[in-house]
């Protein structure tokens, strides 16, 4: 069962049988929008990047993105940079895997972001989505659709944070502008 999330909605990452999740994946998929005009069939390549920023008590302590694919502690892994997108329809073009059990104890929030590295706005992206998947059984727990995102080049998607002994996910969906996650820091901070 998939929850189509709306802004600010929080879901607990408890499994339906009461057990807590051990591994989640944030998947990002997109397709470039076809160009209008002459040579209209030619699509412009769009490079979206998924990143995860690890916070301890509101201070960023580590980040996983296309230049640092594994967090130092090994708990968060990026599958690697995809420069063109393409799958868009269900498949993930980039993914960030989080092994929740191995996340160091001081990390209490992990924020997922998406940036357009090539600078196109989300208006030019088709079928873009971000989803959260339970890695242990491949079930999609939440999905957020980016398409029609307007004149923005980045979005702060969601955060996974500690709640009691388990973890919770909150949809953020805040549009922003920036080429990489560093540009988004001021926008992220209010959501911590």
């Amino acid at each position: 069962m998939t929850v189509n999330m709306s802004k600010g909605q929080a879901i607990s990452l408890q499994k339906s049988d009461g057990g807590t999740l051990t591994a989640v994946r944030m998947g990002l998929g997109w397709q470039a929008a076809p160009r209008r005009g002459l040579f209209g069939k030619r699509t412009k390549e769009i490079d979206l990047d998924a990143s995860a920023v690890l916070f301890a008590d509101k201070q960023p302590v580590d980040v996983v993105f296309f230049r640092h694919l594994v967090s130092d502690d090994g708990s968060v892994r990026h599958t690697g940079d995809n420069l063109v997108g393409g799958a868009g329809q269900g498949g993930d073009d980039e993914a960030v895997m989080v092994d929740l059990q191995r996340v160091p104890v001081h990390i209490d929030q992990i924020v997922f972001t998406v940036n357009s590295f090539t600078g196109q706005t989300f208006a030019e992206v088709e079928n873009a989505f971000c989803r959260l998947i339970d890695e242990t059984n491949g079930q999609e727990m939440a999905r957020y659709t980016l398409t029609g995102g307007g004149q923005y080049t980045a979005q702060i998607m969601a955060k996974v944070h500690r709640q009691g002994n388990g973890w919770q996910m909150t949809a953020i969906g805040e549009p922003a502008n920036g080429r990489t996650f560093q540009d988004l820091m001021p926008t992220i901070v209010p959501f911590l």
Binding site: V70, D72, D73, R102
Partner: protein, 643 residues
């Protein structure tokens, strides 16, 4: 999905009605014995075999065949049965092969009734054994599991049955063999015994004389005592010494068999070779690198948590101080206590997680270490006692141990790929932190010892004639330590002494590098002179720069730069300070070599997070004769090859 099991691995069974398929290249007989909780057969009725193919819950084939299907209904077994052993044996007295090593490894698979495969296991590594326990199905907390066993018996069926506590084992084995012989007589005519008989002894003596690849020393093939000890039965039969028997290819998986008393959410019991790879060596290699990375990352997580806790505490204490009104008084004290308590809580939590991860890695290391082949093993590993000259170059060599201060007893093997892609430099200078407590003479002695240990390792893990050692010892300072290498003939010519010796040796190796490089560039490797030694070359340099003139130093640098690509490597035992007069000219030389130390020293960084790892050289334990013993074996093998 089918689980491909390795020896000792277990797998849960989804149901109790199963079929076990066996496939072998030659007719074999299949049977099943039942064991109680002590691993014993209660009576002669607890076996299904060709003469008695039906017992309650199990049905086997009446005759020997290349393919078998055994039907098993675990629910129908008596309650006292805790284990079902699936055994294969070669029919005796019908002129077939005499050992499982004579044909392709058989495999056994557990399938459901609908034919879906649950788990499969290929019985590799068998030699002269004529009976083998392929799989066992065992009860574990009310559920059944399958474990890959692969325990062979050179004594045949009788030895196998006897091992399960059956007094009339020989009698029963005879009955089974008769029944099988009768069955074979009914089905196909046995192949003419004369030709078979003529071929077999030849094959066997060949197997005995041929150096067996090192990873799987075979106690039965050499006629030595067979290790009847069940790999998973250590707790109930604590007979042997604590170290695993040298021949046992499977490490005992800890004091308890996998799965005993495991709560459902406990971490899985580690298994040696639990990684991807085409061969067991490759699996172990990958597993060790996996452990290396896990340890690096786990410690990184712990350290970053502690660092964070420290900095947060400082910040909070600073905040209390910065407000003059609240600097003293009960509120300030409470705030300080709170900051310290938060710090302690976080550090404790991080420590608990670290402890959990380290315990898991220690358990894994305990399983992996005994399973390592000689090239990956420490000198004190019993596998070196059973050493035989290998047939092929191993994929890597253990160059020492790596540890982190968080758990100094968790030693990760430092494996380097073979052939070496860069030379080694054993630093005999006391520049490192670990060297401060040792006198410089002692350090020098240890450095020479480490160089001998590493050179001996390299000689031992390469096949005969694939590795040549050269030593330059201009002042003769290392002569005493080189004796074992010289005596055994591992070192073919005495160490080069004096400036002339240095020049001669370097000249020869430089020429070789030149020649091979030229040949490779022009694609004319066939045109190399026939007397050229194509083996890997290792040049051990002592006393540098004593006895070296400028030309020799240049040649040495050339070898360090160009040698590795064409199989010529350096092992320098040197103190950088002594060569300081050469100035920066030598810096590239030192940089080109992998620096290791003769005493434990934390100078190596891992590729993931860059911790400083403490390196420990592979020194031979004091008083151990393992190196001379191994080198004697090498010398014997060389003589056998007429080299």
């Amino acid at each position: 999905m089918t689980a491909e099991l390795v020896r000792g691995q277990n797998h849960p069974l989804p149901g109790t009605r199963l079929e076990i398929r066996v496939s072998a290249g030659e007719p074999v007989l299949a049977g099943a014995t039942l064991n109680d909780e002590h691993g014993l057969m209660r009576d002669a009725g607890w076996i299904a075999h060709p003469a008695e193919p039906h017992i309650h819950g199990i049905e086997v084939s009446r005759q020997a065949a290349a393919d078998h299907r055994l039907a098993v209904d675990l629910d129908a077994l008596p309650d006292a049965v805790h284990r079902v052993n699936v055994l294969l044996a070669l029919p005796a007295g019908v002129g077939g092969p005499s050992g499982f090593g004579d044909f392709a490894p058989p495999f056994a698979a557990v399938t459901g009734l609908d034919g879906t495969e649950i788990a499969r296991f290929t019985l590799t590594g068998l030699h002269a054994e004529s009976a083998v326990i392929a799989l066992e199905l065992y009860r574990r907390q009310g559920a059944w599991k399958v474990r890959a066993v692969g325990q062979g018996y050179a004594g045949g069926l009788a030895a196998l049955l006897h091992d399960q506590g059956l007094p009339e084992a020989q009698q029963l084995a005879d009955t089974i063999n008769e029944a099988v012989a009768a069955g074979l007589a009914r089905s196909v005519a046995p192949p003419p015994p004369a030709t078979r008989g003529a071929r077999q002894p030849a094959a066997q003596t060949g197997a005995a004389a041929r150096p067996v690849p090192s990873g799987t020393p075979d106690p039965a093939g050499g006629g030595g005592p067979v290790n009847y000890q069940h790999p998973g039965r250590r707790s109930s039969a604590p007979t042997g010494p604590d170290a695993p028997a040298p021949g046992a290819p499977v490490p005992p998986t800890g004091p308890a068999p996998p799965g005993v008393g495991q709560p459902a959410d406990a971490p899985p019991v580690p298994v040696a070779g639990d990684a991807a790879g085409w061969s067991q060596d490759e699996r172990l290699y990958n597993q060790i690198w996996g452990m290396f990375e896990d340890l690096a990352r786990t410690v990184a997580a712990y350290r970053s948590a502690v660092d964070f806790a420290d900095s947060r505490r400082e910040q909070e204490l600073d905040k209390v101080l910065s407000d003059p009104r609240a600097r003293i008084g009960p509120a300030a004290d409470a705030a300080r206590d709170e900051a310290r308590a938060k710090h302690t809580r976080l550090v404790d939590q991080a420590g608990a997680v670290l402890e959990r991860d380290l315990d898991q890695l220690v358990a894994e290391s305990e399983v992996v270490e005994p399973a390592l082949p000689p090239a990956f093993a420490r000198w004190d590993n019993p596998v070196w006692q059973a050493y035989e000259v290998p047939m092929e170059v191993p994929m890597a060599l253990r160059l020492g141990d790596l540890t982190l201060p968080e758990r100094a007893d968790l030693r990760i093997p430092m494996l380097v790929r073979l052939p070496l892609d860069r030379g080694l430099w054993i630093d005999s200078g006391n520049s490192g932190a670990g060297a401060a407590s040792v006198s410089s003479d002692e350090l020098r002695r240890l450095a020479v010892e480490a160089s001998v240990a590493i050179a001996a390792r390299l000689v031992a893990v390469y096949p005969v004639d694939c590795f040549t050692l050269h030593v330059i010892d201009p002042a003769g300072s290392a002569a005493a330590s080189l004796v074992p290498l010289l005596e055994s003939g591992a070192l073919r010519e005495p160490p080069a002494v004096g400036a002339a010796g240095v020049a001669r040796t370097l000249e020869r190796l430089t020429q070789r590098v030149d020649l091979v490089q030229m040949a490779m560039r022009s694609g004319a490797t066939g045109a190399l002179p026939p007397e050229l030694d194509t083996a890997e070359q290792l040049l051990v340099v002592h006393d540098f720069p004593h006895g070296f003139d400028d030309r020799a130093v240049t040649q040495l640098r050339y070898l360090a730069d160009e040698g590795p690509a064409v199989g010529v490597n350096l092992l320098m035992v040197a103190d950088r300070d002594e060569a300081r007069s050469y100035g920066p000219v030598l810096d590239p030389l030192w940089r080109a070599l992998l620096r290791v130390t003769p005493v434990p020293d934390d100078h190596l960084a891992d590729p993931w997070v860059g911790h400083a790892w403490t390196y420990e050289p592979p020194l031979v334990p004091a008083g151990s004769q393992v190196v001379p013993q191994v080198l004697r074996q090498v010398a014997t093998a060389r003589r056998a090859y007429g080299r």
